[in-house]
Each structure stands twice: as structure tokens, then as C-alpha cells.
Subunit: 385 residues, 2 copies
């Protein structure tokens, strides 16, 4: 970021600055006395740090509240963290839609936009949609592109550390795509790419169904389900970034393919056509027995996939998300099966964030990056959740 | 341990002591000058620490080598870590045998003992066998029980942090057994209990097939297979200590039970009779087609279990151990299946420690405990592997 000071700051200055900024973010509008108490630093040190932070644009003197009771004498100066000093973008690239969220430095969402995209769209077309949806949300919120401090992206597939998609069978032209690099061209700030299920797991932990647990498996249900896992509050990516990519599990020693799974006629469904799947779910709810049999098969497979993850990882909590419709019926069978087969069944719940989970997780990714820059002086402060 | 100094040492003294001891253990017989260089501490500080360590029995002045070329003048004093200052015990409690290993403080094994035990033995009988095998190895090595600094134990089942077996269906009377507490009565030093597959994973990482990888799944093959996982070099126990307990996985959505799996006649095998299973493996090697079909079924199930773990965790390396015989045939089918279904197939190899894996891992558990006491001053030193 390089915004904190003009030159290369000393470690001590960095630490003090991070400590004060951290305290400022946690409080409403603290006074110098409040900050001295909260940080344990001397008053002159806090004053010096605050002046530097004001110069850098990260802190501002807050105005006394209008209409508040005036006390005698000059009121103590109060300060606040300028969440509007920079902005963050969270982007979802999905099979049927792309979406973008924007927030200030506190991670509070101030704008959103999404567009449909065909599941057969080429990588170029899909990326063009992504650019449109980003331009749209920036225009609507009036935020200049240059004010972005970090961009997070959630995408299907196994994503390398440099943002390249190592393997992504769900989207045409996705395997081998240097996704981070392609998107980076549109921004001056860092662009961070993560697997969609991993991003969704982070999102549910941040502001969804998993805020009270650090050992979570998030299952992104779909024709080719994926999962993201948090162990001790940290994302478990696996040695090659492929942890939780359980889409192939049901194929082991079985004959049925994902397409066969959802076939109600002799004609199998088109590969990965989730909208057709949603129709099958709807038919089943209307009492269609053939559709019900298909839904049952889907449930069995989901239960099997989740059970495999649970047996391998032993999480405290399983969050099921992905398809917005039809998933509530999965909870009871899932709980029943897990209770039968798992030695220590976890709690099972539905996603609270629903469709917004992947983009929210991508935003969290961007926020993590910025918080690391702002707050993380090794071994001193850990950023607040 | 409380052996380092008489009173409660100051943090600085503890740190210095740990640093010097660490350097001593890494070197052969260093001089004070060597230690000053290695630790960055002043010579008087090193001298003071060394005197304290000699008093506590952890360090001794080493004798000049006999027959070495004598140089002019008095030779510099040399010191060594007294690996014989204390001893460690690693205990395996298995279905068919119990075993114990003993080592000095460097973890080098200096004695071993094992006994057969019936798979139908009661918990009391099995524990009695454990006591016999421990008494035997101590007698043979001439080590007094009071010289033990820590005892590690590997056992089937889900083991709680306090050493209670929460669930252990493989051994009669095992579920609910306060195993740590029962064994603790025989020792004055700490007794640490861990799941057998977890212990074996630690062992392979320490001195077996996984010394070059920190992201490992160890599969303990058997009628009810279990697994232990290391993530970033650390054991992943799971939220409730049940991670890797994949024994039930194959039951999901299937009809076949472990007994049916190995039935070659209408009469199913007795539950958990691994010796009968070994006979089936032997028959298959002799060309018996029915036995071969059974072995094929076993392989398919093992492949499925391992694939589930690999998809969930994405390790760098899979180590297959457990049954000593017949497992080499599993590698090629396993590699083939993983290559077909896993997005990023891991390396697959056989256990190097074989039968000794669980007891060796239990020993490592004891060593970890002692090293933590001796070396771990938070944020300063990490023990050498």
C-alpha cells in the first residue's frame, strides 16, 4: 500500500501505527485519551501516529455531533478511521451469472451488481461480462476505479497461488486461464483469485451461518459439488489448492455420471444445466414421482459427498449452500445419515448468504489483503473479524 | 519437568537455556566458543547456562577422544546433551498385538518388545498385556521406570484430549475407557494417548515414508480403515478428534458390510478377523479366483476410501500402511484410480515402518511432549526434527 508514511517506516513506527489504527477501527470516535488507554502507548506517541495517519488519509478528526449537549470548555478532539479512504471489490464468476460487490475499508457492502451469463459462454465473453458488472457497480456507487485498494475474485476450479486456473471443467475455456493476470489489466490494485467454494466458506465464517465456528466445511451443492474448509479459522487450500474438490467422488466404483443422475427421460440433461435441474426440483415439489426419484438420487449423492468430507475432516459445522432452491429438503436426510455413519456427527445448517456467498467471500479476500497491509506487524496485532 | 533449575526460572533464563540446549543437541560435542557462535549469546551467559544444565543432568562435559592427535596446550572443554538423562516409551495397543519401544531423549530406539493378544480380549486383559510388554522392555534395557520422562500410546478409536476413548468399536470394552487414566497409574511421568492412525502418520513423517512432505495422509488399511493426516507438518485431529475415521464411508448408500466384503463362502467371516483376511490374500496369490475376487473388492473399497480423503484434503503424499502383507498390490490400482478421479493426484507410497509405525508414532508423541518442555519458549526456538 505504501500509504502510511512517505518513506520506509521503521518497524516501531509501523507497529505503533498499526496498533493505533486497530484501536481506532474497533472504537467509535475515540479521543486521544481513549487511544492512549486502549493502546498502552504514550500520549505524544499516539499524537504523532495520529498526525501521520491523518496526513495519509486513513484517519480524520470527527465532527462533534450536531444537536448533542454542549459541555463547558473546548471538547476533546475525536478521531475516526476513514473507511472511505479506499474501497474493495468482491467478484463472483459463476456458471450462470457474474456478480460484484463493493465496500469501504470496513467491509460493509455499499453496492452490488450482477448479470446473467450463458453456461456455454467462452472465457473471453465471460470476462467481458465481469468487466461490465464491475463497471456497473463502480458507476452506480460513484467510486473511481483508482480508489480500489484490492479486488477479490471467486471462481470455479482449482486456482493456483498466482491466480491461474489449473483445472476448471465447469466453465468453457477455464482450464489454464491466467485469470488473475487477465483481470489485473483493469486495475492498479492487487487482484486475488480464490476457488468459489473456498470463498463461500470464508464468507459464511465472516458474516453468514458459520460466524460461531472455526472448523467448518462449506458445501457448494451443484451438479459438480465443491467444498471449502476452514480449520482453526483458516482456509484449508490443500497442497495443490484442490482440497474439497469432491466432484468426482461419486464416480468412484459407480457407473452413474452427473448427467445420468438428473436424467428423467432417456435423453440425459445437457452437461451442467442447473436450470433444468431446478425444474426437476420444482416438478418434485408438485408431486411428480419421477422427478422425486431424481431428487432422491441427488440427495443421496450429496449426503455421500458431505459424509466423505466430514469423515475426513471432522468439522464442527457443515454449511450447505449453492443452489438457492430445493436445498432445505436436504438437511434432515443429511443429519440422519451423518448420525448413522459418522463417529461424531457435526452440526448441519443451510447457507445464510445464499447467492451472495461467493462474491462476499471474494470481498473478504480483498479485505484480508488490505488488513494484512494495514495491521499485520508480525506477532503484534491480529485484525478484528 | 522442572529439571532445568531449582526455582522458577525467569523467562530470559529459560529462553537462554532452551537456545543453548537446542544448539547442543544439533551439534556433536561443541566447545563454549562453538555455542557462543551458534547461539549469539555472550560467553559468560553460555557458561552460566551450561553450568545449570550440567547440574540438572541434561548436559555433561564430553571426554576427549582417545587416540586423537593431541595438540599443544589444554584442549577446549567440550559438552554434549545427555540423551540418557531420561527415557521415552512408545506403546501400541492393537487388535492382535501390543508393542512397546523405548528411546533416550534423542528418540533413538534402544529397545522393543511385543506380544500377541486376542482380538476378543477384554479391556482389562488387553491392558494387562500392555503392562507386561512395558515391564519386559524396561527390564531388557535395564531402564528404571522412574527414568521415564513421557509415555506415548497409540490406540484404535477416537481419543479425547484427556486420553479417554470416546468411541472404539474395534476392541472389546474400548468405548468410554479412560485409557490415559488407567495407564497413568503405572507411571509418574505424563501419559499421552493418540489414535493409532494419527500416531502412524506422525511416525512416517518422523522416520518413515513421509520425511520429505508436510502434507500427508496416512491410511491404516484394515477391515475398518482409519487415516491420520498431517497438514503443514501438524497433525489434523479434527474438531472432535475424529478426523480420518473413514471406516463407515463405504457403507453410505451401499449394502455391503465389512464382513460381507471378505466373505468367500455363505458364512461371513467373524467380525474383524484380520488373520482370516490374510489367508484370503494368501489364497489369492496362489491363484484362487474366488479369493482374488474378494481381494479385488477390498482394493476397490480401499481406493474409494483413499480417494475420498484425497479429494477432501488434497495432500502431497499418501502413505498406505497397516496390514503387513498384500498391500503392495494396492499401489498401482490406487494410483490409476486417483489419476482418473482426482483433480491433482498425490504421490502414493507404502509405509516404510510397517508394523512399527503406531508404536514409533507413540514414541514421537512422547518426544514431542518432552521437547516442548525443554525447548519451547514461545516464539523463540522450534525443536529440530
Amino acid at each position: 500500500m505504501g500509504r502510511l508514511t512517505g518513506g520506509d517506516p521503521s518497524l516501531l513506527r509501523r507497529i505503533n501505527s498499526a496498533v493505533v489504527l486497530h484501536a481506532l477501527r474497533g472504537a467509535g470516535s475515540p479521543t486521544l485519551t481513549d487511544l492512549t488507554r486502549a493502546t498502552g502507548l504514550s500520549r505524544p506517541t499516539v499524537e504523532g501516529v495520529i498526525e501521520g495517519l491523518i496526513e495519509s488519509g486513513l484517519v480524520v478528526e470527527s465532527q462533534p455531533e450536531e444537536g448533542g449537549t454542549r459541555r463547558q470548555g473546548r471538547p476533546a478532539r475525536r478521531f475516526r478511521f476513514r473507511v472511505e479512504a479506499g474501497y474493495l471489490l468482491g467478484v463472483e464468476i459463476g456458471m450462470h451469472r457474474v456478480a460484484a460487490l463493493v465496500s469501504g475499508l470496513d467491509g460493509r457492502i455499499i453496492g452490488a451488481s450482477s448479470r446473467e451469463v450463458s453456461n456455454t459462454a467462452s472465457a473471453d465473453d465471460r470476462l467481458e461480462r465481469v468487466r461490465l458488472v464491475i463497471a456497473d457497480v463502480l458507476r452506480r456507487t460513484g467510486i473511481p476505479r483508482t480508489s480500489l485498494w484490492a479486488v477479490g475474485v471467486g471462481s470455479p476450479g482449482i486456482v493456483e497461488a498466482d491466480g491461474t486456473v489449473r483445472l476448471g471443467v465447469a466453465l468453457p475455456g477455464w482450464t489454464g486461464l491466467p485469470l488473475g493476470q487477465r483481470l489485473q489489466r483493469s486495475f492498479r490494485c492487487p487482484v486475488l483469485v480464490e476457488n468459489d467454494a473456498n470463498a463461500a466458506a470464508m464468507a459464511e465464517h465472516w458474516k453468514g451461518a458459520a460466524t460461531d465456528s472455526d472448523d467448518v466445511v462449506f458445501v457448494l451443492a451443484g451438479l459438480s459439488p465443491g467444498a471449502g474448509s476452514l480449520i482453526g479459522g483458516r482456509l484449508h487450500r490443500g497442497f495443490g489448492g484442490a482440497a474439497g474438490e469432491i466432484g468426482a467422488l461419486h464416480l468412484l466404483g459407480r457407473e452413474v455420471s452427473p448427467q445420468e443422475l438428473f436424467s428423467t427421460t432417456d435423453e440425459p440433461l445437457r452437461p451442467l444445466d442447473e436450470q433444468a435441474v431446478a425444474q426437476v426440483f420444482a416438478l418434485a415439489r408438485q408431486g411428480d414421482s419421477r422427478a422425486q426419484a431424481v431428487v432422491d438420487r441427488f440427495m443421496r449423492r450429496l449426503v455421500h459427498d458431505v459424509a466423505a468430507l466430514v469423515l475426513a475432516l471432522d468439522p464442527e459445522l457443515v454449511v450447505v449452500g449453492g443452489w438457492a432452491a430445493g436445498l432445505d429438503g436436504v438437511l434432515d436426510p443429511l443429519r440422519g445419515e451423518l448420525a448413522r455413519y459418522c463417529l461424531r456427527p457435526p452440526r448441519v445448517t443451510l447457507s445464510l448468504l445464499g447467492e451472495a456467498a461467493v462474491a462476499t467471500g471474494a470481498l473478504r479476500l480483498a479485505l484480508d489483503h488490505v488488513e494484512k497491509e494495514l495491521f499485520a506487524v508480525e506477532g503484534t496485532v491480529s485484525p478484528a473479524r
